[in-house]
Symmetry: C2
Subunit: 151 residues, 2 copies
C-alpha cells in the first residue's frame, strides 16, 4: 500500500491532535471536511490507521518508573511464546524481538522502583527467560506517535 502526500499530512495532523475537526484539518491540507473524512475512513479500512487513543502522562497516572528489559531466551523460544508470556503483564507497554545479543526488548512502566523490581523478577523467572539485563529511564525526552494494536 502506498499513501500519497495528502494522506500523510492528514495522518500527521491527527497524530498531533486526533480531536481536530475534519473541517479544520481540511483547511490545513486544502480539502473539504467530507473529503478528509473519506480519506480517514479509507486509511482505517486499509489498516494504516488502527485507532484513536489518548496520550497520557504516566507519572500523573502513578506510573512513575519506566525501564527497558533486554531478555535473553532459552534456545528454541518462538516469538509467539514470548508474546504469550509477556502479554499477561499489565506493566509491559511494548515488546519486540531484536537483533543483537538479546532476543527481545521490553518496555515496562511501574508505579515505583519496588514495583519495577518485582516485575523484573517475575519476568526473569518466566520459563522461556534465561537471563535479563535492564536499564531505567532517567528522563523521557521525546515521544511522538503511537503504533500498533490496543492490547
Amino acid at each position: 500500500m502506498r499513501l500519497n502526500e495528502l494522506d500523510e499530512r492528514i495522518v500527521h495532523a491527527l497524530a498531533e491532535d486526533a480531536r481536530r475537526s475534519y473541517a479544520d484539518i481540511g483547511a490545513e491540507v486544502g480539502l473539504s471536511a467530507p473529503a478528509v473524512k473519506r480519506r480517514v475512513d479509507r486509511l482505517r479500512a486499509e489498516g494504516a490507521i488502527t485507532g484513536f487513543t489518548v496520550r497520557v502522562d504516566p507519572a500523573a497516572l502513578g506510573w512513575e518508573t519506566e525501564g527497558f528489559i533486554e531478555i535473553y531466551c532459552r534456545r528454541n523460544t518462538s516469538p509467539e511464546a514470548i508474546h504469550r508470556g509477556l502479554s499477561r503483564y499489565p506493566e509491559v507497554a511494548s515488546a519486540s524481538t531484536v537483533t543483537g545479543e538479546a532476543d527481545a526488548l521490553v518496555q515496562v512502566f511501574a508505579s515505583d522502583m519496588r514495583h519495577f523490581e518485582r516485575v523484573l523478577e517475575r519476568i526473569a523467572g518466566e520459563p522461556f527467560v534465561e537471563r535479563t539485563k535492564s536499564v531505567l529511564v532517567l528522563s523521557p525526552l521525546l515521544r511522538r506517535f503511537s503504533s500498533g494494536a490496543p492490547s
Copy 2:
C-alpha cells in the same frame, strides 16, 4: 496528583478509543456526558492527559524498518541538548536518557534498511554523540499505550 477510580476508567476508555462520545463513555462509567467532559477537561488541565493521537501501523505508512539506537554522549551533554539534537529527525519516535552504559535510548522508524542506515550515520555524526550501538526490531510483539508530549 491522584486520580480516583472514575478518572482511571475514563482514561482507560479513551485509551481504547479516543473518539468515543462523552455520552457513550458516561454510560459505561455511570455519568452524564457533561460530567465526563468536565473530568476530561480537568485531566487535561492537570496534565494527566496530554493530548489525543492516532494509532498507526508503521508498515502501512511505509515505515517498515524499526530499530533502537543507544547513544553514548560526550562529557557534559545535557538532556536538553540531546532533545534539541534529536527532535529535528522525523524518524525518531521516542528518546529517553537511561541508566547503564549508554546515555540515551532512541527508537527510530525508517522506510527501509538504507534509510535506517542513513539516519544512524547522521545521528552518529551529531556533535554531542561519541558513539552509538544499535539493534533492529525483528517483530513487534506488543504495543500498548502512548505517553508523553507530541514533540
